[in-house]
Every structure is written in C-alpha cells, then in structure tokens.
Subunit: 496 residues, 2 copies
C-alpha cells in the first residue's frame, strides 16, 4: 500500500511559499467554521521515524490559530498513567467541543512500536485495533472529527534522514531514531500496513503523505487537512453529521496525485532472443523443481495476472505452465459470471477455486475485475467497488495467513505498443480472434484504467500479497521477469 | 448479559399448539416474500450444548417450505477443508439469492469451542471476531439477511439436560455433550459473552432465547425469526436495504418479555437488628483488612451504586466507608454535568476519575444515567442511549482488563416501600431536604424505569463487571448484603 506514496513527488521552496499563503488563509477560515459549529477536532500525525512529524506539527501550529489549539505528545507513560487503563491518557487530552488537539501518533504509537519490537503478536495487534476502532467510532458518533495523517518515507530517504540526524549538532538522543536495515524497514512497514488497513473506515480514513521531499510533504499535509475539513463541513451541512457515514467505504485519496505508480515503470527494458532462451530455460527448470517442492511441503500458490489488453498475459502464463507438471496447477480464465455466480457474492466464485494444500491456481484476470473493468465501465456502483479493496484484502489475508503464497502481476505496456499489437492482431489471420470491438473501446478509457490501477495498487498491494508491476513492452523480458519473480518468492516463502 | 434469559419463562404444550398454527402461516408468508425479493437468508442457530439446537432446527424445517431451504452442520473439518482457509467451508455453503441456509453454530462454533478449551487466547478470540465481523458486514452489504439466535440454558437446566441425554437409550455419543461443573459453566458463559458482545451490531444483532422450557424455547425462536424477518422486510421497503443500518445501535430485544430481571428479586428478605449489628461488625472488619490488602497489591476497585429513589444508596455507601481508611477511597456523587463536562463525550468525566492502582472509587449514581434517567426522561436520543450499552461495556472492559475490580449494585425496593419512605422523609424535619418534586415525578415513570433496568442488566451485566440486584425493602439486610458481596468479590479478585 505504500507504493502509491513512493512516487518521487517534489515541490520547490518558491512554489511552496507561493501556495502557502493561500492555504493558510483557507485553513484559518476552516478552523473558524469548525469552532463555530462546536466540532471537536483531533489531528493525528503519525508515520515513520524521521519523516518529519515534528516539522509538520510546527507548521500546523504556525498555520492555525493558537487559541483553541493544543498539541499533545505521548512519551513514555508516567506512573499516573501506568496505573490506569491505556486509554486513560488519551481521554484526558480529548479536545473540548470547538477546539483542536494535534496528537503525535495518537493512539497508534504504542501498538506500532510494540508490534515492531515483537512485544505484540498479530492477534494482540488486532485486539488493539478493535479498541482503537471502538474509540474512534464512539468519538465520531459524538461529533468529533478525527483526521489521520500518515507520513511515509522510502527506505533510501529514511536511511538518509536518520544518518543526517545522528550527525547533527542539535541532536536529541531520544528523537534521533533508529537506523534500520532493509529487512527491519520492511518489517516496520508490514506492521504499519496491518494497523492502517484495519483502522481505515469510511468515517476515519487515513491520508497518506509522501514525505521524502520536505516542501512537498508540508504542502501535501496542509492540503490533506484542508480537503478533510472541507469534506466534513459539507457533510455536516448536508447530513447533520461531521463525518462521513461509516457505511460508506473509505474515500480514495482526496488529493489526486499527478503521477501514478505506472509512471514509475521503466518500459525501456528488453532482452535479446539469445539471452531470453537461456534465462527462460534456467528459470523454467527452477520453477519445475520448486513447484514439486511446494507440493511436497503443502505450500499452496495463487498467481493473479492482470494487465492491459494485448499486454501478453496469455503468453506469460503459458511459459509458466510449460515448466510444471499439469497435475499441480489449474488455470482459471475469468469470463463473465454465470447465473449461479451472479446469485452469490462476487467473491464466491473465487473462494470456490482456492487451491488445496500444495497446488497452484493461476488466475487469468481475477477478483480485481471488481475495481478495474466493473469500476471503469460502471458495472459496479462506486460504493461497491470502493468496498472491494477492503474485501479483497481480507480475502487475500485469509489466504496468506493459511500459508498460501499470493503474487499478483500487472503487465504494463504503453498505449503506442498496444496500438501496434492491435494492428498486428488484425493483420494476422490466426490472431484475429484475439481482437474485438471491446478491446478498442477499453483503449479509449486508458486514463480511467490508469487511475484504477493506481488505486488498486495503493490499496491492495501488501507485503504478503504484493502487486508486481511488469514492464511488458518487450514480451521476452516480461516473461523472464515473471518466471524469475515467481521462483524467488516461492523459494523465499518455503524458507519461512 | 444472560440474566435476562434466566427468567423462568414457560409455555404449556396446549398454548404452544394454539400459537403454532398462526406462527407457521406467518413464517411461510415471510419466506415467500424474502424469496420474491431475492434475499439470501442465513439463520445461525447457536448456543449452549443441550439447549436443543437440533430440535429447533427440526422445527424450522417443519415450519418453513423445504424448497430453497438448506441445513448445514459443521462437524470436524474434512481434509479438503483443513487444506484451505477456515472460512472456505462457509463460503461453499452460502445461500444463493432467494434461498435460506440454516447453519448449526455458523462461524461461531470453532471460536467458541477453542476458547473454552483454552486453545485460543482472548486476543486470538478477538482476532477471530474481527474476521467474523468482516464476513458478516460483507454479506449484509451484499444484501444477505443474517439472523443470529442464541439459545441459553441456566446451569441447573443445563446439568439436567445433559444427565438425561447420557441416560437416554437413544444416546449419540458425539452429541450428548459434556457435564460441566459450575466453574466450567461460568467459563463457558464468559467466552460466549465476549464473543456475542463483540459480534453484535446494528445490522446483525443477536436474539437471545431462554431455553429451559422446550415449548417456550421453540415458540420464542419462531417469534424471533418472525420479528427479524418482518423488521428486515420493512427496512427493505423503506430504505432499499434488507438489514438495518450499521450506524444504528443493535435493537433491544424484539420480543418484549412479560417478566423482567427485577421480578426475580425476593423483596421478602430481612434481618433483625441484633443479627444486623453482628454481621455489620464482622464484614466491616473484613472490608477494612481487605481494602488495605488491595492497596498493597495495587488492586483498584470501582463500585457503582444505582437504585430507586430512597432505596438507601447513601446509607449503604456510608456503611462501606466507615470500614475503610479515608485515604484509600473517593466517593463521586454524580449530579448534572458541568459546562466543561458537557463540552466532552459523556464518558469523559468518568474516565477522569478512574482510580489509581490500589484505590477505590465509589460512584453514587454513574455513567448508567445514560441508559436510565437520560433514556426515560428523553435527555438522550434513542440512538445515543442505545449505543451506550456497547460504549459502557468497552469502558468497563478496559477497567477490568487493567485489573480493576468492577462491581455494580442496583438497590431494589417495591413502589409501596418507596411511597412509605417518601412520606417518612416529608414528615421528618432533617430528612425533608432529601425529597423533591423530581422524586415524585420519577415515581410516576416506575414502569419505564423497570424496562430500562432490565435492558441495562441484560446488556451490561458481564462476568467481569456484574450487576448485583439487592433486595432493599429491608435496609439492614441490604447493607449487610452489599458489604458481604464487596468482601467476597474483593477476596476472590485478589486470589486470581
């Protein structure tokens, strides 16, 4: 889920200064309106160490009116606090109606830290998310607006930031943070991902902020604040409630990014036929061995293939299959649902085909149709496909927690390459059946699909069930890349 | 929470037969309407072993049209099932639109059994409730109606039923169930309570059925089915959704019982002054020692006193206080909230007064005002006080999980006794300040308060934070009873 805030977005200082003036005026006005409506506001500033939470809070204190604004940090618990239930210290600091409390990490700090340090199991983390959700629901029902901001840093930026701090003359030992290895960093994100995903709701959505560049970060934080406050005041005027209905799915990002995850894919990679043949043989041999090993160790595998029309899904899948014993796998080509399938929940037909222990299921298109074609073509209502992110995450979590390896590929090509392939299909007799009117229609909605893919990756790429974006302008390198990725992940999953 | 289904309700066979005819017609008609609306229906029949779930399911199969009706029992998992995520077996059996699935225990059986057998920790049980809630929400969003029935047996009835089964000629070893000790039975209820409480929602409320008497049980089950189906069809017609909005609190029992928990209190008990003095001295001495012991072992105590006006709360509290060192306790007399308190969530002022480790707080009236006076007088909106049951349970759970002992007393008197005491107050110069116009007004709403007390006990009496109903027509015995209960619970809580 963090891929979508690792887009390398930046803002230069001059641009920041220019935008800041207007933003500040708007925020002050929003603060005044919220105070007038007697709304208590909680702003939770959370995220990775080194992401600049302190700087952002300083910025908020500068931008907002200090009357009716309080900042709370939750350091180590005091004796007074340790002698009472955990949440006591939060209750003490809840804002009165019409005022704002800015909270460092809010009620997320402890759970996050303890799980990262291995002091909480997954179940105990989930138990804590139950409590957090109860608290947040109780407060939003009572009219509190809770704004949750998560500041994300890429691994590289995180390391750089911590090193700089540790060298600084003004270092504060308690605040300098810990320099993580790549593995520790991934572990930290896995915890964050679990916690964020389970505390995301229609009424209390998380706003994700890319924080590698400090000017971009502060502006994005300010704009998120503004967007949530505006949305909430609109909500208040129309429905009488300050927060959105919990029955609605969490809104997608309020501030649409100019770049998407697909823009980061390098479509320039390629492989010559000689190297292709060699590598194909190599990885097919490995996959053959690994798939038997998976069978013997009861490791199930789910592979999902999505991608643009003519991106080469079929060809890539065939290269996988020819490496394996046909008794070990099943390919599901997802077409329009049958009557029986339509008479059930949309996930029902996918649950039915979950592989037994030791077997592999390859899905040529999948449950992601819900958030791709059904979204873009309007076959599903917005609330239906927006809920689907959560539903799909829960589904895949059940698979991975049961020990199934889940890997999802998006085959990415440029529109130009697609056009070339379409023409090629039309002009080649044995390929003509592969091109239909529908393919041309889909092509016209390229940008809609691009947004849909970005949201899909942002919401459903998890550490346990990641999306892998495959540059597929060159079919040969795409096939090898997919084979290689499957081999690597499969090997790793069996080592655990 | 099970007190409200241990009221000793019965129905004789003739009466059952007479009501059955009409009920059956109604159920068939409701089944037809739901099928016409293409609603998939899941009926979960859960509860204690021996409560007669099998008989009830047979009854449902007899009452309903067998076309479009399927019954599923989840025995030990098959190999096929064990090789896939837990929920796979439920997905396979979900009803198609327009049909009904009756499920023995549904997705509650495993979690319940494993927690009772100690194979699941509290956190792991909570993790499972998260998954259950996700599944139920996903299905209700998709238009499924989920009806959850819980069949409760009192300890006595449970033991009797199991013994009879074990002696039966037609015994089926797998089904005869286990004869529990009182302690095991309590442990089982504690698990059930935690699971039921955390899977109760506005859209999927639990229906509790008293099952000691089989004719009453079957009729109550049928009527619950009828009530939920009717409510849901009304909901469908008015809002387009089959289930109630999740933002609404779970409805209180749909079938208002003729008896309430207060009817079970024996107001005839009394104590002569001689015995009173002796016992008072005895228990005060014990409380004195226990309170110091609690202080030394950092055990906090929260005592809540609620009751009818003039039931003798003040006198009872004074008898407790005079036994203890004034440094160890604090009494909070709850009056109308201050401005500052009104500017926060209603629980805020109670959170603030949570005692430190080793201390005792006595609340003369409490957060229960929300579901008593605020409910009856209309100071709180129905949705506000209806949510309060959950909120209060969560609050008290945080106290007890932190090690605080929580005990709640309702002092019960008859309306005649209250009238006598009111007159006495009016006629005694130094008691006149204790009687106001408001007391007379409250008295007129006796029946409303009685329902409110019943719902309060049904929803907030938990094993860890129980309600104790004290017969208080005789002040002397009431005071001793309270002292004795505090001593017993305190001793037990320190033994754990």
């Amino acid at each position: 889920m963090f891929e979508a805030v690792e887009l390398g977005q930046t803002l230069d200082k001059a641009e920041f200064k220019q935008q800041e003036h207007k933003l500040r005026g708007t925020l002050l006005e929003l603060q005044r309106e919220l105070a007038e409506e007697k709304v208590p506001v909680i702003i939770i500033v959370a995220g990775l160490g080194g992401a600049g939470k302190g700087d952002v809070v300083d910025r908020f204190n500068k931008w907002l009116d200090s009357r009716g604004l309080q900042t709370h940090a939750f350091w180590d618990e005091t004796d007074e606090e340790l002698e009472r239930p955990d949440h006591w210290r939060f209750w003490k600091r809840l804002p009165a109606r019409g005022t704002i409390s800015v909270m460092f990490n809010g009620w997320y700090g402890n759970a996050l830290g303890q799980h990262i340090r291995g002091e909480l199991s997954n179940s105990e983390l989930d138990e804590e998310t139950l409590r957090i959700n109860q608290l947040e629901r109780m407060l939003t029902r009572d009219g509190t607006l809770i704004i949750k901001l998560w500041f994300h840093l890429s691994f590289e930026a995180h390391s750089k930031r911590i090193k700089k701090r540790q060298k600084s003359k003004h270092r504060v030992p308690d605040l300098e943070g810990h320099l993580y290895t790549r593995e520790e960093y991934d572990q930290m994100l896995a915890t964050a991902e679990r916690l964020l995903r389970k505390t995301e709701s229609g009424a209390c959505p998380w706003q994700m902020i890319e924080s590698d560049d400090k000017w971009f970060r502060d502006m994005a934080a300010g704009k998120s604040l503004q967007a949530v406050m505006q949305m909430s005041l609109r909500e208040l005027k129309s429905s009488g409630n300050i927060t959105r209905n919990e029955l609605e799915p969490p809104p997608l990002s309020l501030d649409v990014p100019a770049r998407t995850v697909l823009d980061k894919v390098d479509l320039g990679v390629s492989l010559d036929r000689e190297a292709y043949k060699k590598q194909l043989r190599h990885y097919q041999k490995r996959l053959h061995d690994l798939s038997w090993k998976a069978y013997l160790s009861h490791r199930s595998i789910v592979l999902v293939f999505e991608g643009w029309d003519a991106a080469g899904k079929g060809g890539a899948i065939r290269r996988l299959l020819s490496a394996m014993d046909a008794r070990l796998y099943r390919v599901i080509s997802v077409a329009a649902p049958t009557d029986e399938e339509l008479n059930h929940h949309y996930l029902w037909r996918f649950w039915r085909q979950v592989p037994r222990a030791g077997y592999m299921t390859l899905y040529d298109r999948s449950w992601y149709g819900r958030v791709l074609v059904e979204r873009v073509e309007g076959f599903a209502q917005p609330s239906e496909w927006m809920w689907a992110y959560k539903e799909i995450n829960n589904f895949e979590e059940q698979l991975t927690e049961h020990g199934t390896m889940v890997l999802k590929f998006w085959l990415h090509i440029s529109p130009e390459e697609q056009l070339r392939r379409f023409h090629d299909r039309e002009n080649t007799p044995w390929k003509q059946h592969k091109i239909t009117e529908e393919d041309w229609r889909n092509r016209e909605k390229w940008d809609d699909y691009k947004s849909a893919v970005n949201d899909m990756v942002a919401h459903t790429s998890t550490q346990k069930a990641p999306w892998v974006l495959i540059p597929a302008n060159d079919k040969l390198s795409a096939r090898v890349e997919i084979l290689k990725t499957v081999c690597q992940r499969l090997k790793k999953s069996m080592e655990l």
